[in-house]
Symmetry: none
Subunit: 412 residues, 2 copies
C-alpha cells in the first residue's frame, strides 16, 4: 500500500513554518510498515491543489492531506477534493447543530463562517477531531483513499493515531509488517571510506537495507528492516549490526540518538571522574557541549579559555620556552594545557585544544588543530588538518576533541 502526504499552506512555501506534519505522518507510516513514497507541499491555491491531489490519486493508494480545512475563506481543501472527486459539497446538518450547541455551552456567539467546517464532499466520511473544531474527512477517489486533516500538529497527530492509521491497518495497509531502524554512530572515518568498507553489504543486504548519513564528522550507518513483528525485524538487523561493529570496532560510539557528550558524561560517572577543558582556538565550544548534558555538574569542573598566549602561561602554566620551541599550535603545547587545566581545576581528566581556525594563518596553516587528553591512566594527543571555514574548523575540532576523550576513557 503506497501512501503519500500533501501539506497545504502558503506559509510553508514562504518558509514561515517548517513542515513537521510530514515527519509526524512519516514516522507513523514507518512504524506500521506502510510505504511512504512522496511528500508534497503546495499553497492555498485551488488549481495547484487540485493538480497535486489529482496526481497523487493516480500514483498512490492513500493520500493524507494536512491543512486548509479551517473556517476562513482561504481554507479550500474541501472544495479542491470535491472537485477532483467530481462531487458536490454537502452540509452535514447534524454536525452543524452539534457545533452550535458546543458554542452555546461556552456562552459564546456562534460565528456563521464556522459553518464552512460542516461541509464535506458528497460520500465522504467524518474523521472526528477531539482536540479542535475542524473535523476531517475521508473519501475514496478512483481507488485511492484521500484523507483531509487539519494543519494544526496536535490535532492532526491525534486524528492520525485514533482514526486514520487504525483504518489503514484494518484495510491491510501494512505491506510487510513493521519497519524497524537501527542507527550506528561512528567517528574517525570519512563518509566515503565508510561507504567503501560496506560496499558489499550495501549491495547484498536487502532486508535490512543499509544507508549512510554524515553530519559534522559523525557518520551514521542506518539499518532498516521490515518484518511481521518488531522482534523479527530486530533479528534481521542483528547479524548485519554485528558485521558493522566488527569492521568499525571502536569507531562506533553509540546508537540511535546517543550523543558523544552524554556518552562521556556516563563514562565519567561510572569511573567517578571529573573533567575540565583548556581551549584556545575553540574557546569554550568543548566546554559548552559537555555542559549541554543535564546533570553535567556531577562530572564537569570548569574550563579555561586561554585565547591569548600569555594566559596559557599565567593560568595553565605552559612554559613560554615550550611554546617558542615547539609552537603555540603543537601537540606538546596542547598536552601542557591539558595537564595544566587538570591540575588548576582539580579535575581527573583534562582536554585541551590549540590551533589556527582561520581564515588567516596563525603560526601554522589555517585549519591546523591540536587536541590533547590527559587522564589518570595516560596521555594522548593528535594533530588535525581541518578543511573548511572558521566555523567548520572549530565545530569539527570540538567534535574530534570529544571523541578523543571517549577513546582515552576507554583506554584505547
Amino acid at each position: 500500500m503506497n501512501v503519500e502526504s500533501l501539506a497545504i499552506g502558503t506559509e510553508l512555501l514562504l518558509g514561515q513554518i517548517i513542515n513537521s506534519n510530514a515527519a509526524e505522518i512519516a514516522t507513523r507510516l514507518a512504524d506500521f510498515g506502510m510505504t511512504h513514497r512522496r511528500q508534497t507541499v503546495v499553497g492555498d491555491n485551488a488549481s495547484r491543489m487540485e493538480a497535486a491531489i489529482g496526481e497523487a490519486v493516480e500514483r498512490s493508494d492513500v493520500l493524507i492531506i494536512t491543512g486548509g480545512i479551517g473556517p476562513t475563506q482561504d481554507d479550500i481543501t474541501r472544495e479542491a477534493v470535491a472537485s477532483v472527486a467530481g462531487v458536490d459539497l454537502i452540509l452535514d446538518t447534524s454536525y452543524a447543530e452539534e457545533m452550535r450547541t458546543r458554542w452555546e455551552k461556552m456562552g459564546r456567539e456562534f460565528p456563521e463562517s464556522n459553518l464552512r467546517q460542516a461541509y464535506r464532499p458528497h460520500g465522504a466520511r467524518v474523521v472526528p477531531n477531539a482536540k479542535g473544531s475542524a473535523p476531517g474527512f475521508g473519501i475514496e477517489i478512483d481507488g485511492c483513499w484521500v484523507f483531509a486533516l487539519p494543519g494544526v500538529p496536535v490535532e492532526m497527530t491525534a486524528m492520525l493515531d485514533d482514526h486514520v492509521v487504525p483504518y489503514l491497518r484494518s484495510l491491510g495497509g501494512a505491506d510487510e509488517g513493521v519497519v524497524v531502524s537501527r542507527v550506528l554512530r561512528s567517528w574517525g572515518m570519512s563518509e566515503a571510506s565508510v561507504g567503501e568498507m560496506f560496499d558489499d553489504i550495501f549491495h547484498e543486504s536487502e532486508n535490512p537495507t543499509v544507508a549512510f548519513l554524515a553530519s559534522a564528522g559523525v557518520i551514521k550507518i542506518r539499518l532498516t528492516a521490515r518484518a511481521v513483528s518488531e522482534s523479527e525485524a530486530r533479528k534481521l538487523i542483528e547479524p548485519v549490526e554485528t558485521t558493522v561493529r566488527d569492521r568499525l570496532g571502536d569507531r562506533i560510539f553509540g546508537v540511535d540518538d546517543d550523543s558523544i557528550e552524554a556518552i562521556i558524561h556516563t563514562m565519567l560517572l561510572r569511573k567517578g571522574w571529573t573533567i575540565a577543558t583548556a581551549e584556545s582556538a575553540t574557546a569554550g565550544l568543548v566546554a559548552s557541549r559537555l555542559t549541554g548534558v543535564p546533570g553535567s555538574s556531577a562530572t564537569f569542573r570548569g574550563s579555561i579559555g586561554a585565547y591569548a598566549p600569555d594566559i596559557k602561561t599565567s593560568l595553565l602554566g605552559v612554559s613560554e620556552s615550550l611554546m617558542r620551541e615547539r609552537g603555540i599550535v603543537s601537540e606538546d603545547t596542547a598536552l601542557a594545557m591539558a595537564r595544566g587545566v587538570r591540575s588548576k581545576l582539580s579535575a581527573d581528566v583534562g582536554v585541551a585544544v590549540t590551533g589556527s581556525a582561520g581564515p588567516s594563518p596563525l603560526e601554522v596553516e589555517a585549519g591546523t588543530m591540536c587536541v590533547a587528553v590527559v587522564t589518570p591512566d595516560g596521555e594522548r594527543s593528535k594533530t588535525f588538518k581541518m578543511p573548511g571555514d572558521r566555523e567548520r574548523v572549530r565545530t569539527y575540532t570540538a567534535t574530534a576533541a570529544l571523541h578523543h576523550v571517549r577513546l582515552a576513557l576507554m583506554g584505547t
Copy 2:
C-alpha cells in the same frame, strides 16, 4: 519566475529528520520576491527521483534539489539529473585533482569512492561548497534551471546564499522589477510586542511590506520593497526604516546580516579595549560566540568556565560568604565574577553569567539566569527568567549577555 524545491532522502520519508531545508530555501525565495510553488520529497530511488525531477522541469523555471550528492552508493542525484537531461556524467579531472591534493595536505589516504563527487552531468556548472566536500552543480534542462545542492543544512544554505540566489537574481528572478529587503535586527522585546508596536505600519504600508521574524531572542523587522531599480526601492524603504528606528531606539542593534558578536568586536577595536568572559551555566557559550568572529584575538583575551562553585572562588576570587548570603545565582555573584575575570585575565571588559539552566532547579527555579558586565566606565547586571529547555535557556542567555555587553559599550 516559478521555483520549486525537491528534497531527496529516504530518512525524510521515514520521519527520521524534518525537511528544514525546504523552509530555508523558501525564506530566501520570499526575501527576493521569487515565487515558490511547490516542495516535494522523494526517497533515494532512481525512478522516483527521475519522475519528480521530470515533472518539476516541465512545470517550473527553476528546481532546487537538496541531498543525494555525497560520496556513497546511495547518493544518486547526479545520475538522476543526468538521466532526465539525457546527458552522460563527466569526470571533472581538475576537481578530482583538487580533492586528492586536499586529502594529501590533511595527511590522509584518499578514498577512491570520493571521486563520485567529481562527476557532473555533461554541461553542468559547479556550485562551490565552502563548508563541505561535495560540490553542487547547476544545469539547464528544457528551459528550467536545475540546481543540485547537498542535504547538509549548513552547506546547503551557504551555497544558496553565495551562489544560487545571486545567480537567480542576475537572471532577473524577481517577477516585478527589483526586490530589495532591509532587515532591522532588534533585541529586548517579544515578537508579539514588536508586532503590536508596528500594527499600523503592517497594515498601511504596502510597499515596502513589513514582516516580523523571530530567532533565538532576536526579532527581525524585514522591510521589502519592489521598484524599477534598487535605488528606487531603497528610497521607498527609507522613511519606514526611520519610523521603525524612532520607535525601537537602542533596541535596534544591526541591519541585514550583522551579528552581535561582530558588532561587539568592532566596538572594542574602536575603543582599543579587550574582553574576557566568566561563565557558569553557559560554560563557554559566550566565549565561543565572541571568538567566532575572524580576528577576534585582537579583542578577546580568554574565558573562565567556572562551573563548580569552588572554582568561582579559587579562580575568580568570588567570596564564599557572598555566594552563601546572596546566592550563587545572583546578580551580586555575577558582578563579582565579571570583576574577577577582568582582573585575572587583564581585560578591559568582563562579562559573566551564572544561573540555573535546568531541567532540575539549582538553588533557584530552572531558567533563572543572571548576567553582569563590567567595563572601565561602570557596571551593569540583570536577572532573566528564561522559558524553555536547557538548550534554549543557555542559548538565549548567551545572546542576552552579548546584548548587555553592547549596551555597556554604548554607555547606556
